[in-house]
């Protein structure tokens, strides 16, 4: 998978919870270094609501949430951006997958305050009007979804994969999607969808996006060969 930032140093929800402990109702939070730097001073935040600015799907949102609120909960309960879901709530199932600065993250295990200054993309960013993103279309065509609760997370993980590696092998796709759990058992057709999207090559939407270009640059993937566009589905 494009790395889930699980091992990224800095401020994780897990370490936060550890610090706070079981009775941590009224404990302040030290601002992550980069945020503090941006604000020119290191100071404790909370325990009450603090102003948070989030850049989600190209729009700036200002909200007030307690420092302990996750990015997922901030988006779902404060901004009504409910496409991705909370399922395991501890970074094990991928239903909450979003992209932060082009990389997938478990948004249930990312604090809203640490997402400030980053570019956040959710499943809601993919659809243009009523036109589905090629990955979404492939999920529908291949029946890569049943109850659909895990689907937005899977779609995000697949989009991230294809933005970095437009032509994954089955093994690469499996590995990239191993961070997501489906209980209905759609895996066979999710994999078909992931491979089918790339095989058919309808990735203009992916390649046209600034995020996609940046992701490919990071991943060292060059521009696509000529002639593939002819096969756009």
């Amino acid at each position: 998978m494009p790395s889930k930032r699980k091992d990224e140093p800095g401020f994780s929800r897990r370490t936060f919870l550890k610090t706070v402990g079981a009775g941590g109702v009224a404990v302040g939070v030290i601002v992550p270094a980069d945020v503090a730097e941006a604000q020119g001073t290191a100071r404790a935040l909370g325990p009450g609501p603090v102003p948070v600015q989030l850049n989600v799907n190209g729009r700036a949102h200002k909200l007030e949430v307690e420092p302990r609120v996750t990015l997922l909960d901030a988006l779902r309960t404060r901004l009504d951006i409910t496409g991705v879901k909370r399922v395991c709530d501890r970074g094990a199932c991928g239903a909450c997958t979003m992209m932060m600065d082009g990389k997938t993250i478990y948004s249930c295990s990312t604090l809203a305050i640490e997402a400030q200054g980053k570019t956040i993309r959710t499943v809601e960013s993919l659809t243009q009007g009523t036109v589905l993103h090629p990955v979404q279309q492939a999920f529908c065509d291949r029946d890569g979804l049943m109850c659909g609760f895990c689907t937005p997370g899977f779609v995000m993980a697949t989009v991230a994969l294809l933005e970095q590696n437009p032509k994954p092998t089955a093994e690469q796709a499996r590995k990239a999607l191993d961070g997501n759990i489906c209980r209905c058992g759609t895996y066979v057709r999710v994999l078909e969808a992931a491979l089918n999207t790339s095989a058919r090559g309808p990735r203009a939407a992916l390649e046209g996006s600034a995020e996609g270009a940046a992701a490919r640059e990071r991943a060292g993937v060059g521009p696509r060969e000529q002639g593939k566009d002819a096969r756009r589905g």
Partner: protein, 753 residues
């Protein structure tokens, strides 16, 4: 669970092997007078039915637009959390809510247990609800929960079936820690064992599996005076209305339940759940809408599971491979006060005689609920492993032993044919005898198993179809789509009936304001819903024909048909008019046709087989399933695409049961040690083998449900394949590396085969 009882009644009696107990006969369905007799169109005339049709709500789900209960935010909505018992067995002496109530942002707090009422003073399992709070945010609600003070008198508990069955065990359950055994017996057991050429004896067991629905249990409750609207994650909107109204002691007519989208249930969401009742009480007290959905740990602890199964077996076969007798002492636990029954033998193969004594054992753990094919996977695993062991004793191909002991072939008993198809696909002829002789640690093996299911329609189903003067068609039916594709099936059948494209009809489901339909359990949904939708659509169409006939100067409206967007005389497609023109003749009021049940559109009884090809590393004990071959029928296929998905899904859930899933309780504390998704392991992408599904269409039969059959045989087939690979028999599930290595160890020490 009601769904279980219902299902057992729906076993096809005609195909039940004679030596085995007949299920109680189902009362003859009442015959309702029908204006018309609806039938399925002839296979050649079907525009949509039986084709691969994409699910209608795919785009809504893939874009995140679909609003699940979890996603709905009502104006002024509060968030609720529960205080769960940390103890598996305790008496609540007192609950002090005062500190929680004083926390800013808290709007309601209630005690759910207490010393005053003996019925509610005890908790019997970890996670049982003790108190609840509603507050302006989930975080505040969680803080308030921490402020509640509960004084528990901790009581003795039972964490395992072994502890409960010990004679010196403390009496934890008032009516006894185990239930009086039930006895079922048919045929002359003694004669069977006397005539035996070989006898196999062993202890077989399967684990507790939790449903692990991705959307947890719960809902949103909003009162308007005495009327309650509840958005609930449920697989039975009508049963949820009944259960909630009963628990709140209010009229059912005051309750409306809505389930537009729901994130999985698998049998655990079939009725009025306690979470919704608590949510409604909080909403009433706070005078505001309240959302209460469980967290992941609570979901594992309290919302049901598949009971464990233990079976001490003695089975006899004669020299010709005829199954003579099976004697089973079985037990298992469905947690606190719940049953755990499963039939032995699995009712596919014919044994001349059988006896089963079953005992329910209670432990202090969350109660079981119906779980996708209740009883069947356990029963299938035990029986199919015994079958392979008998075949090994006979030095007979296990497939051949199966073929010699099947009931006569019938529409709903096609195992012989399917076994041969599956064997061909997986290359069974290349299967080696038990124990792969290849050098090196990686051993390869194959196994197989059969399944059966009832899955017929429910005659209480209702629907109503409206045709509007502008040509619009709405089919209302109070079912719900739990991910199987029910919404799409409703649209397919409606469109087929009206001769319209699927996109131009509306399937109105997931609301108790629509006519009654059964809960999505027992694989009854597809047969119930497609049948009643066909009847309602047909009734509405007949009304339309009556309006159109005079305009077309046709004396007999029954000579008209609706096809390809036109209404015309059947024999002359060139006459007639477009659908829109026809509907203009309706006048101002839409046609509204209610429907009552008609028999003959659904059927009963599926057959299926599965084959597994596995690799086992005898140094690490790790099993990798390489391939599953599935041959399955479900009567008349309505949507091939979503039906195949049911098979994939069932097999994958069966792989979880075979290899990974296990609810583990600490034997000393009765605490679940893996109430999460990193240690309760469900299959992930890299665990999925090549899966080949062959769906056998039976286009001249009625519709039968398919949700359950594909989950039944996977673990049994994998279990047999593992033994075939390593030459040692693993008689327990899941087939963990530890279980495999210990079977190998026992084999070296004297034999497991």
């Amino acid at each position: 669970m009601p769904a279980v009882a219902k299902q057992q009644q729906q076993q096809p009696p005609a195909q039940t092997p004679p030596a085995q107990p007949q299920p109680p006969a189902q009362a003859a369905p009442p015959q309702f007078p029908a204006a018309t007799t609806a039938r399925w169109p002839a296979p050649a005339d079907r525009a949509h039915i039986g084709k691969s049709i994409k699910r209608l709500d795919g785009p809504d789900k893939a874009t995140g637009r679909a609003k699940y209960t979890y996603d709905i935010i009502r104006p002024g909505m509060l968030y609720a959390r529960l205080l769960d018992s940390p103890h598996p067995s305790a008496r609540v002496r007192s609950i002090d809510l005062s500190a929680a109530e004083k926390l800013p942002g808290v709007r309601a707090a209630i005690a759910l247990k207490g010393p005053d009422n003996p019925a509610t003073s005890k908790v019997m399992y970890q996670g049982e609800e003790v108190a609840a709070v509603a507050a302006i945010s989930e975080e505040v609600a969680q803080d308030a929960i921490r402020l509640i003070k509960v004084d528990y008198e901790v009581l003795p508990h039972l964490a395992t079936v072994e502890q409960s069955m010990r004679p010196e065990a403390p009496l934890v359950f008032e009516k006894g820690n185990t239930r009086e055994p039930t006895l079922q017996q048919d045929g002359d057991l003694e004669a069977g064992f006397k005539a035996a050429a070989h006898i196999v004896e062993g202890l077989y067991s399967t684990q507790v599996q939790t449903h692990t629905s991705l959307e947890t249990h719960g809902g949103i409750c909003e009162w308007n005076g005495e009327n309650l609207t509840a958005w609930v994650s449920t697989q039975a909107v009508h049963a949820t209305r009944e259960g909630t109204a009963r628990a709140l002691n209010i009229p059912q007519t005051n309750v409306r339940v809505i389930t537009d989208y729901m994130g999985g249930g698998f049998g655990s969401k079939l009725g009025g759940d306690v979470q919704v009742v608590i949510c409604a009480r909080l909403a009433k007290l706070a005078n505001a809408p309240v959302k209460l959905l469980l967290d992941r740990k609570e979901e594992h602890l309290v919302t049901g599971n598949r009971p464990s199964a233990f079976a001490k077996i003695r089975a006899a076969v004669d020299a010709n491979g005829k199954l003579l007798a099976i004697d089973a002492e079985t037990w298992g636990t469905g947690g606190a006060g719940q049953g755990s029954n499963f039939p032995v033998p699995y009712q596919v193969y014919v044994f001349s005689s059988r006896r089963q004594r079953h005992k329910d054992v209670y432990i202090n753990a969350g109660p079981q609920r119906a779980f996708r094919a209740p009883g069947h996977p356990q029963s299938c695993f035990v029986t199919e492993i015994v079958m392979d062991e008998l075949a090994d004793r006979l030095r007979l191909d296990p497939l051949e032993l199966r073929l010699r002991n099947l009931p006569p072939e019938a529409e709903n008993a096609q195992w012989e044919r399917y076994f041969k198809m599956g064997a061909e696909q997986i290359g069974w002829s290349k299967r080696h005898p038990t124990g792969d002789s290849v050098t090196g640690p990686i051993k390869r093996g194959m196994g197989c198993a059969a399944n059966r299911w009832g899955g017929s329609g429910t005659n209480r189903s209702r629907a109503a179809c409206q045709i509007h003067p502008d040509g619009g068609v709405v089919m209302q039916v109070g079912t719900q789509d739990i991910g199987t594709g029910t919404r799409t099936l409703v649209a397919i059948v409606t469109a087929e009936t009206m001769g319209l494209p699927i996109e131009s009809v509306r399937a109105a489901i997931g609301d108790t304001n629509y006519p009654w339909a059964p809960g999505s359990g027992g694989s009854v949904t597809a047969p119930s819903v497609t049948s009643i939708v066909r009847v309602a659509g047909d009734a509405a169409l007949q009304q339309l024909f009556a309006k159109v006939a005079p305009a077309l100067k046709v004396a007999d409206p029954s000579t008209l048909v609706a096809r390809d967007g036109r209404v015309h005389v059947a024999s002359d497609p060139k006459t007639g008019m477009t659908w829109k023109e026809a509907c203009k003749l309706i006048g101002t009021d839409p046609i509204d046709a209610p429907a009552t049940w008609q028999t003959g559109l659904s059927a009963t009884g599926t057959s299926g087989v599965q084959f597994a090809d596995v690799e086992v590393d005898i140094e690490t004990g790790v099993t990798r399933v390489k391939r599953i071959v599935c041959v399955q029928d479900c009567g008349m296929i309505v949507d091939k695409l979503t039906a195949e998905s049911q098979c994939y899904g069932g097999i994958i859930m069966g792989l979880g049961f075979a290899l990974f899933e296990n609810r583990i309780l600490d034997r000393n504390t009765a605490q679940m040690v893996n109430p999460n998704m990193e240690w309760y392991l469900v299959p992930g992408m890299s665990d999925i083998p090549q899966i080949d599904v062959t769906l056998v269409d039976q286009p001249t039969r009625g519709v039968i449900g398919l949700g359950e059959p594909p989950v039944i045989s996977t673990a049994a087939a994998v279990g047999n394949a593992v033994a075939n690979a390593i030459g040692a028999r693993v008689r327990t599930l899941p087939l963990t590396p530890a279980a495999v290595l210990s079977a190998l160890e026992r084999e070296r020490a004297g034999g497991t085969l």
